[in-house]
Amino acid sequence: MKPHRLPRFFIVSVALLIAFGLGTFYAASLAEKYTLGHYGSFRSYFTKTLLLLGVSVAAGLVLQFLNHRLLRVLALPIYAVQTVLLVLVLLVGKGMYGSRRWIPITGSFGIQPSELHKLAIILIVAFVLTLPRERFTTSVKVLLTALAVAPSVLLVAKEPDLGSSMVLLGVSVLMLVHFRLTNRQLLTLGLVLVVAAGGIWLNLKPYQRTRIETFLNPQADPLGDGYNVIQSIVATGSGGLWGRGIKGSTQAPLSFVPVQYADFVFSLVGELFGFVGSATLVVLFIMLLWSTFLVFRTLNDEFARLIVIGIGSMWFIQAAVNMAMTIGLSPVTGIPLPFISYGGSSLLTHVLAASLVVVLYRTREELRF
C-alpha cells in the first residue's frame, strides 16, 4: 500500500474541531449581542482565539520543516527548558485565587508552561523508553521514566494546577502501559503511582480537597464548586435536542456558568446547540481518536509510535474528563477541552501536538532512529 503524503482523515478531524470551537464562540458572541444589546466578552474571546489560532497554526507549519531526527536529540533539552519554566512559574507566576500558573510576558498576556509541558513529557518518556536495549533493561527504563515524570507532576501540582498534573501522570502511565512490561514491572509501576498519589493528596490545598469532596458529596459546598456544576448542568440541559440558539440562550450572556469560555465551554455548546451539537462534538473527538490510531498503525518506529500514543492519550484524558466534569460525572479539576476551550497556551499545545502527528506520519518511511 502506497502511503499518502498527508493523513487526511486526521487533518480533517482536527480542522473540524477547531472550526467547531470558533463557531461556538462566534455564536455565543451573537447570543450575547441579542440578549444584552451589545457585544460582550465572548466577542473578544472569539477574536483573540482567531489571532491565537493564526499563531498556533504558523508554529505548527514551521514544525513541519523540522528534521524529525532532531526530535530525539531535542527531547532532553526541551524537557530541561520546560522544567526550568515550571520552576520559574512558581517564583514569578500569576494566576487567580493565589495560584501561580502563568509566566507574565506583557500586560494580561503570559504563557502557561504546564500546557506545553505535556508535549515535553510525551517526548521525554518516548525518549527514555526507546533507549538502546543493550544498555538499558526494561526495569531501568521504567525507573528513569518515573524519575523524569515525578518532578514535573509535583511542580505542576504545586502551582497548584491539579488537573494538568493529573494529565501529565495519566499520559505517562498510558504510555508505559503500551510498553513491554512484565507483571513484576507493572507492580513496580503501581507502587510508584500509589506513592505519587499519596504525596499529591498530602500536598493538596484545602480548596482542592474541597473539590474532590464536593464531587463525592455535592452537599458539602453548595455555593462553590457544587453550585458551578449545577449551573453547568442546567445550562447544558436547557439546550434540549436542538439547542436554544442565538436568540434563546441566556445562561452564557448572563454569566450564570463560571468560566464558561474555558473549563466549562462544553456547557456553552450544550446550551447553544443542544444534544445534536454536543453529541456532534463528542463524535468529532471520537473521530480524532480513531484517526490518531490510524496514523499510529502505519508507523514502524517505536519512538514515533510512543509519541502518538502519548498525544492520543492526552486528548482522550482531557476531552473525557472535561466533558464529564461539565455534566457532573467527574470532579471539577480545571482541565481544558482540547481545541475548544479558550486559552492560548492550550490551543498552541494541541495544534503543535497535531502537527507533530502529521510530521511523524509524513516521514514514517525514513524514520529509523
Binding site: 455535592p218 442546567v234 434540549g240 441566556t250 490518531t292 466533558m323
Partner: protein, 592 residues
C-alpha cells in the same frame, strides 16, 4: 522492536481506543438524558434561572465574663428580604413594606439598587422589624411576590450598660466597610462589630452564614432545596472581666467622667475596665434617640477614657522621676532634701503643694509618703531632662500597652526638640522640674499609668493588659486560652524598684490614705492631683497594687474634673475595689 512486539502494541492501543470510544459514547448517553429526556425541565430552570442562594446569618458568638455571666448574646428577630426578579411592581410591593415598617420608599429602592446583587439574590432591606410588623407582614406575604420575611437575630446586652465600653456594640455594615470587606463575604445590611470587643474580635464572633441552594417556581416560591450548608455559629468569648468588680467600678464612677481599672499584674488580665459616664449599648441596636445622642455628645459618653483619654499624670509620675534619679545615681535612698514649702531656682519659687508650710527634711520614702514636690523638683533637675525623658520612654508612656481594644491612645513624653517644634520655645529648667512632678506637658492614658505601676509591682515586667480570656468554638466546644504575653520589661534595677515599692507602701499608711486598708495586707499606692487650668478643679488619680510582696491586683481610679479637690479623698473608694477583690479572690491566693 520486532513484528510481534509491534502488533501486540497495536492491539493494546486498539483496545484503548475502543475503550475511549465507549466512554465517550457514555457521555453521549448522559447528554441524551440531560438534554432530551430532562431538557424541558432544565430549560424551565434556566428560563428564570430558578436557582436561588439563600443565606442566613450565623448566630454571633456570645460574650461572657470570667464567671459565665452573659454580657452579649443574640435574640431572635425578623428581617424583610427582597428578590427583585420576583417583584411584579416594585412600587406596590416595596411601597407596602415602606408603609408597614415606616421606612421611606426611596430608601428601600436605594438599598436594593446599591446592593449590586443579581436579580435572583434576596437582599435584606429592613432588619430587626418588630413582632407586630412581622405578624402583619407574614399575613400579607402571599400577596407580595418578591418579598419575604426571614428569621434572623439581633444583638442584645442583657446587663445593659455594664462594661459598655469594653463590649462596644454592633451595627449595620457601612458602605466604606463593605467595600473593604466584600472579599470576606460581607454583604449589604450585614451586622458587624463597631466598637470594643465586638469590633476587636469580629472575626471570631462572626461565624459563617448558612447557605441554601433552592429551586423556585415562576412566582419565586420554593419548590425544593437542592443543597444546604448549615451556619457555623461564631465563637463565644470569655472575657477576663469579673462582672461584680466591673459593677463596683462603674458605681464608683457614677455620672462622673473618669476611669476605673482593675488588673492582675501577674498576667495582664483586666478584671474591670470602666469609663464614665457609661451608656446602654442596646440603644445602638434599637435606634438611638436624638436626646440620648445630644447627652452622649455633651459628656463624651462613648469615649473610652480608660484607654483613649490622655491626662497629666500629676504625682503618679513621681515613680518615673524617682527611678530616673536612683538609676542615674544622682540620689540614693539616703539622700536628704529639705522642703521649706518649695525651692527657688533662677530667682523663681517652685511651690510644693504644702506651701506655705513645708515638709522639712525628706528622704525618698518620706517624699513618696508626703508626695513632696520640692523633693521631686530637685531630683528632676539633678537627673536632667534627657534622663527623665529616657525613663518616661522606658515606662512606655508614649507607647500603646497593647490592650486588645480598638482605639487605644498613647501618651506624650515632651522633649526639648518637641517643645521647640510645637510650642516654639526652648526648654527651660522649670519645664524639667514641672515634668518631674507630672505637671506640664506630659500626658498619660489611665491604662498606661496602671501598667507602669503593674510593672513596678512585677519587678519590671509588664504583662500585656488583655480582656480576652478564651474563645470557645461553638461546634467542637474546644476552648482556646489567651496566653499571657510579656509586653515589655523596664530595664530598671530591682534595688531601685524595691526602694520605690517601699516608698509607695509608706504612702498607703500615711494620713487619710489609711482608708485604703484591707485587713493587714501591705498595699502600695500613689495619688495624683492634676491641675486643669480652672482654679479648684482637678483631675484626681489613685493607683494601688497589693499585696506588696506578692502582687495580685493593681487598681486605678481616676476622675476627670474630679468632684474631689484632694486625691486622698478617693482612698475609701479604692478601698472598696481592693476589699471586694480580696473578698472574692484573696482567700486562695495566700494574701499576707
Amino acid at each position: 522492536m520486532d513484528k510481534s512486539e509491534q502488533s501486540s502494541q497495536t492491539r493494546r492501543f486498539l483496545v484503548l481506543t475502543i475503550l475511549f470510544t465507549v466512554l465517550l459514547l457514555g457521555i453521549v448517553s448522559r447528554l441524551y438524558y440531560l438534554q432530551v429526556v430532562r431538557g424541558d425541565y432544565y430549560a424551565g430552570v434556566a428560563e428564570d434561572n430558578r436557582l436561588r442562594i439563600i443565606s442566613t446569618d450565623a448566630p454571633r458568638g456570645e460574650i461572657r465574663d470570667r464567671n459565665g455571666v452573659v454580657l452579649a448574646t443574640d435574640v431572635p428577630s425578623f428581617d424583610v428580604v427582597v428578590t427583585t426578579y420576583d417583584l411584579s411592581d416594585a412600587d406596590v410591593e416595596l411601597g407596602a413594606i415602606a408603609q408597614l415598617t415606616g421606612t421611606k420608599l426611596q430608601d428601600l429602592k436605594n438599598t436594593v439598587k446599591n446592593a449590586g446583587a443579581s436579580p435572583f439574590t434576596p437582599i435584606p432591606v429592613v432588619r430587626n422589624v418588630s413582632k407586630a410588623v412581622a405578624l402583619q407582614l407574614a399575613e400579607k406575604e402571599p400577596d407580595l411576590p418578591g418579598i419575604q420575611l426571614v428569621m434572623s437575630a439581633k444583638r442584645s446586652y442583657p446587663e445593659g450598660s455594664l462594661a459598655a465600653h469594653v463590649l462596644g456594640y454592633t451595627g449595620e455594615i457601612a458602605d466604606t466597610e463593605l467595600k473593604e470587606l466584600q472579599d470576606q463575604g460581607y454583604v449589604i445590611k450585614d451586622t458587624i462589630g463597631k466598637e470594643g470587643i465586638e469590633l476587636q474580635y469580629e472575626s471570631l464572633l462572626r461565624g459563617t452564614k448558612s447557605q441554601k441552594l433552592i429551586e423556585v417556581d415562576a412566582e419565586g416560591k420554593v419548590v425544593k432545596t437542592l443543597q444546604e450548608k448549615p451556619a457555623t455559629p461564631g465563637k463565644s468569648l470569655v472575657l477576663t472581666i469579673d462582672a461584680r468588680l466591673q459593677k463596683t467600678c462603674e458605681d464608683l464612677l457614677g455620672d462622673n467622667q473618669g476611669a476605673a481599672i482593675m488588673m492582675d499584674p501577674r498576667n495582664g488580665e483586666l478584671l474591670a475596665l470602666a469609663s464614665g459616664p457609661t451608656f446602654d449599648p442596646n440603644k445602638f441596636i434599637s435606634g438611638i434617640s436624638s436626646e440620648d445622642w445630644k447627652l452622649w455628645s455633651a459628656k463624651g459618653t462613648l469615649f473610652n477614657r480608660a484607654i483613649a483619654g490622655k491626662f497629666p499624670p500629676a504625682s503618679t509620675f513621681k515613680v518615673v522621676t524617682g527611678a530616673a534619679g536612683l538609676e542615674t545615681h544622682v540620689i540614693t535612698d539616703k539622700t536628704i532634701i529639705k522642703c521649706s514649702g518649695g525651692i527657688t531656682v533662677g530667682g523663681r519659687l517652685f511651690k510644693c503643694w504644702v506651701w506655705p508650710g513645708g515638709h522639712g527634711n525628706e528622704d525618698i520614702y518620706k517624699a513618696y509618703a508626703d508626695s513632696c514636690d520640692s523633693y521631686f523638683f530637685t531630683v528632676a533637675r539633678l537627673a536632667g531632662i534627657d534622663a527623665l525623658d529616657s525613663y518616661a520612654q522606658r515606662f512606655g508612656i508614649d507607647e500603646p500597652t497593647g490592650v486588645d481594644l480598638p482605639g487605644e491612645a498613647t501618651g506624650l513624653v515632651p522633649t526639648p526638640a518637641w517643645k521647640l517644634a510645637t510650642v516654639k520655645e526652648p526648654w527651660y529648667d522649670g519645664d524639667t522640674m514641672n515634668m518631674g512632678i507630672g505637671q506640664g506637658y506630659t500626658l498619660e492614658t489611665p491604662i498606661r499609668d496602671l501598667s507602669i505601676y503593674s510593672s513596678i509591682a512585677m519587678n519590671g515586667t509588664l504583662w500585656r493588659p488583655h480582656l480576652l480570656k478564651s474563645s470557645i468554638d461553638a461546634v467542637t466546644r474546644t476552648e482556646t486560652q489567651t496566653q499571657p504575653a510579656v509586653q515589655s520589661t523596664l530595664g530598671v534595677s530591682s534595688s531601685t524598684l524595691d526602694i520605690i515599692k517601699k516608698g509607695l507602701n509608706r504612702v498607703s499608711v500615711t494620713g487619710g490614705m489609711n482608708y485604703l486598708k484591707v485587713g493587714n495586707i501591705k498595699i502600695c499606692a500613689k495619688t495624683g492631683t492634676a491641675e486643669t487650668g480652672t482654679p479648684d478643679l482637678y483631675h484626681t488619680w489613685l493607683i494601688a497594687f497589693a499585696p506588696m510582696d506578692n502582687p495580685q491586683i493593681a487598681v486605678l481610679l481616676m476622675y476627670e474634673n474630679s468632684p474631689y479637690s484632694r486625691s486622698t479623698s478617693m482612698a475609701p473608694l479604692v478601698h472598696r475595689m481592693l476589699q471586694q477583690y480580696f473578698d472574692l479572690y484573696g482567700g486562695n491566693n495566700g494574701s499576707n
